[in-house]
């Protein structure tokens, strides 16, 4: 083929520009560590990468929620443990009083013990985690239990009956606690108590028990002992339920962790540059570019016929 001087120089310029462009692309990928620099590099992978990033961020938010959920449920479980233990102690005191002949002073001391247990139970019921009260239902800003001598009841429940739940994902809502009403046997809006056989809340029962101990009311003590037993069984039952909820939160956390790990792997495949391959390609291109430059320089230096005349 006939080679013209302008054709040769144009061809050389095009070849060198193409090689420099390829080197530039590889350099950009290596310096950023990302295979995808622009959506046009791989539109389908771009959509996948954006979805993966969105999901990873969503999972991070879910993990935050799950950690908070686990913390609240953990605190609820501990509080229920306290409740069960307190009720158990009160029941023991009740049995102890009922099965022995005690003097007034001794009964007074035992009644004081029961009242002390009731006071500590109020503290448990007003447990606060990260500024939120555990047992007020959705009334998380105010203490759910309030001691009030002027009221009919020794301890008033100021919370509501709405169990607090966090939403994880689009449509899954998991509880993060129990209402004080459910825990301490207060009646709901319809007047129904969680433990149907016991027509008193835990604090009224303890108060009545203390009064019965002081008065030596053996008939009453027997009834209160049975009621305390039912409340204790209810507390244990609630702990079981809370355990199941805790497991669900744990699964949410684990699933978020494993999904994030999987997505990171997929992202690495889609988004990250294969450094070894890119470096090999870059070396080859640089070698070819240098060779092309050298060859071009030599060809341009070659004498023409005009130089020899």
């Amino acid at each position: 083929m006939r080679i013209s001087n302008s054709g040769f120089t144009n061809s050389v310029k095009r070849t060198l520009a193409t090689q420099a462009d390829r080197i530039g692309t590889l350099y950009g990928q290596l310096s950023s560590g990302k295979r995808l620099q622009q959506p046009a590099d791989d539109p389908a992978a771009t959509a996948r990468v954006l979805r993966a990033h969105a999901t990873l961020n969503e999972l991070a938010a879910r993990q935050t929620v799950a950690r908070q959920g686990q913390q609240l449920i953990g605190a609820t479980d501990a509080a229920l443990g306290d409740l069960a233990s307190t009720l158990s102690q009160a029941k023991n005191l009740c049995l102890q009083t009922n099965t022995s002949t005690l003097g007034a002073a001794e009964r007074g001391a035992l009644a004081a013990q029961v009242r002390s247990l009731s006071a500590s139970l109020v503290t448990t019921g007003n447990t606060e985690v990260q500024g939120q009260y555990l047992f007020g239902g959705s009334q998380i800003s105010t203490p759910p239990l309030r001691e009030d001598d002027t009221a009919n009841l020794p301890v008033l429940y100021c919370g509501d009956h709405q169990q607090l739940r966090y939403q994880v994902g689009a449509d899954t809502k998991l509880p993060v606690g129990l209402t004080g009403a459910a825990v301490f046997n207060y009646p709901d809006a319809t007047g129904t108590r969680p433990v149907p056989g016991v027509d008193a809340d835990a604090f009224s029962l303890l108060s009545d028990l203390a009064d019965a101990i002081e008065a030596g009311d053996t008939q009453g003590l027997e009834q209160y002992g049975e009621d305390l037993g039912q409340l204790h069984a209810h507390a244990v039952d609630l702990r079981g339920q809370v355990g199941v909820i805790a497991q669900r939160w744990e699964r949410v956390q684990e699933r978020a962790d494993s999904t994030a790990a999987l997505l990171n792997q997929l992202l690495a495949d889609d988004e990250s540059v294969d450094v070894t391959a890119a470096i090999v390609d870059l070396s080859n291109l640089e070698t070819a570019y240098q060779a092309a430059l050298g060859l071009t320089a030599r060809m341009l230096e070659l004498p023409g016929l005009f130089d020899l005349t």
């Binding site: 001087n5 144009n10 959506p39 539109p43 961020n57």
Partner: protein, 458 residues
């Protein structure tokens, strides 16, 4: 007899010198863009003896200066230049727009939209916290800002394209005028070698016209070249029909290209067609972003209005926008700015602090299939727009690269035929030099012969 030798030798000297002028012109233009090499066509001077006496001839002359032009290849090259111009204009514009969709760098709409829902998910755990509520409002504001920025980038690029169109049309008209003027100068010259340089300039202008608007040249017997755009004759001899920009009757904000009384000719190609195609593509993306912004904002507003804030007030709008340009005007409602307590997260009027029912309703919008006929979520819809930008850019780049390869191949072929080879010219000059030297020898021989004849006479 001696006189005849001298005349023939003189014609050889003149022809060789003239032919070497052609070579010199070739050498001088070896790197001139668009230059087509020329060749002196030598021919014997025919016998002009009216008496019909026997003779050998009257020497040599340059019968013509031929331009080694391949019209077929030239037409192909111009056609491909037009296609390349269109693909290049489209790819250049798209590459600028693509950078506005900076989601792969983690600072685009996709990230902001996700962060908005993430903030709502997290505010459940501390619904009374000003910091958590502020985070939701901040995320909403960031999302609105990204929408505005991306929409503004599309509008900006459309303005750039419109300016480019004006410049291209002006340049096309200038070149059309140049071709018409050159036609007027070339036609009277006929086959005169002087016309060669003018033709080079005219061919270069037509090649630029091909790149700009896809026009082609058509040789006429009178030496002129008409410029055609499909079936429309933009230049006929020295008469020009200019391109013009006019308001689109269907949309006064848009401009269309007209030729005479024809609007948007189908045959329009080159950079102008690339600009028009890019502009139309941006209209589509702007519309998709507007739909996304309006539908999403309305869904959030409806849900937010159904909830109650920390002061037991009904929620107001979450976002505000101008219905004429939702994405470009999307903003967080003024009632929420610096008022985290006004975020309506509760589901009931006397909603206690822990009531996050409405926050959860807002969170459910993440999976709400409100777009593409109820088949896509907001995030999926936006990702589809980004993928569409990527696909169009990839298509434009592929088209540009493919056209570039074709043009390069044709250009190489064209340069091989029409370009100047300095070595070839050197050989030709040496060959002509030999002829020239031999002719001088002939003059000397004729002179010697004449001297000897004169000596005999003396």
């Amino acid at each position: 007899m001696g006189n005849q030798i001298l005349e023939i030798a003189a014609s050889a000297l003149a022809a060789a010198r003239q032919a070497m002028d052609v070579n010199a012109q070739n050498v001088a233009n070896a790197q001139t863009p668009g230059y087509i090499r020329q060749r002196a066509v030598l021919a014997p001077v025919p016998l002009g003896d009216p008496q019909g006496r026997v003779g050998v001839g009257n020497g040599v002359m340059v019968a013509a200066v031929e331009r080694l032009r391949n019209q077929c290849l030239e037409a192909q090259l111009n056609h491909q230049e037009g296609q390349l111009g269109e693909a290049e204009a489209r790819a250049d514009s798209l590459s600028r727009v693509q950078s506005a969709f900076s989601d792969l760098n983690g600072d685009g709409i996709s990230e902001a939209l996700g962060a908005f829902f993430d903030a709502i998910e997290e505010v459940q755990t501390a619904p009374a916290s000003s910091a958590a509520r502020d985070q939701v409002i901040f995320a909403a504001d960031t999302f609105a800002q990204r929408m505005r920025e991306t929409s503004a980038a599309l509008v900006q690029e459309q303005q750039t394209v419109a300016q480019g169109l004006e410049q291209h049309v002006a340049e096309v008209n200038r070149l059309l005028g140049q071709v018409a003027e050159l036609n007027a100068r070339i036609m009277p010259l006929g086959d005169n070698p002087q016309a060669g340089d003018l033709k080079v300039t005219r061919e270069q202008a037509i090649r630029e016209l091909a790149t700009l608007c896809g026009a082609t040249g058509l040789d006429q017997p009178d030496g002129s070249q008409d410029v055609l755009l499909g079936g429309l004759r933009l230049v006929q001899g020295s008469h020009v029909t200019e391109l013009a920009l006019a308001a689109d009757p269907a949309d006064a904000t848009r401009q269309i290209v007209t030729v005479g009384n024809v609007s948007e000719p189908d045959s329009l190609g080159g950079q102008i067609a690339g600009c028009l195609a890019a502009r139309d593509q941006y209209d589509q993306w702007r519309q998709e972003l507007d739909d996304l912004a309006a539908t999403f904002a309305e869904a959030c507003n409806t849900t937010h209005r159904a909830g109650y804030d920390l002061n037991s007030q009904s929620g107001g709008d979450m976002f505000t926008y101008d219905a004429a340009a939702p994405a470009g005007s999307l903003q967080v409602a003024a009632t929420l700015e610096d008022h985290p307590e006004a975020l309506a997260l509760a589901g009931t009027l006397t909603g206690p602090p822990g009531d996050v029912t409405n926050a959860q309703n807002l969170l459910s919008l993440r999976e709400g299939r409100l777009f593409a006929g109820g088949t896509q979520t907001a995030e999926e819809t936006y990702r589809e727009i980004v993928a569409s930008v990527g696909r169009e850019m990839q298509r434009a780049t592929d088209a540009r690269d493919a056209r570039q390869q074709l043009v390069d191949a044709l250009d190489t072929q064209y340069a091989a035929e029409a370009g100047v080879s300095l070595d070839e010219e050197a050989v030709e000059v040496m060959r002509l030099q030999q002829v020239y030297n031999a002719a001088i020898r002939l003059v000397k021989i004729a002179d010697t012969m004449m001297q000897e004849v004169l000596g005999l006479a003396g």
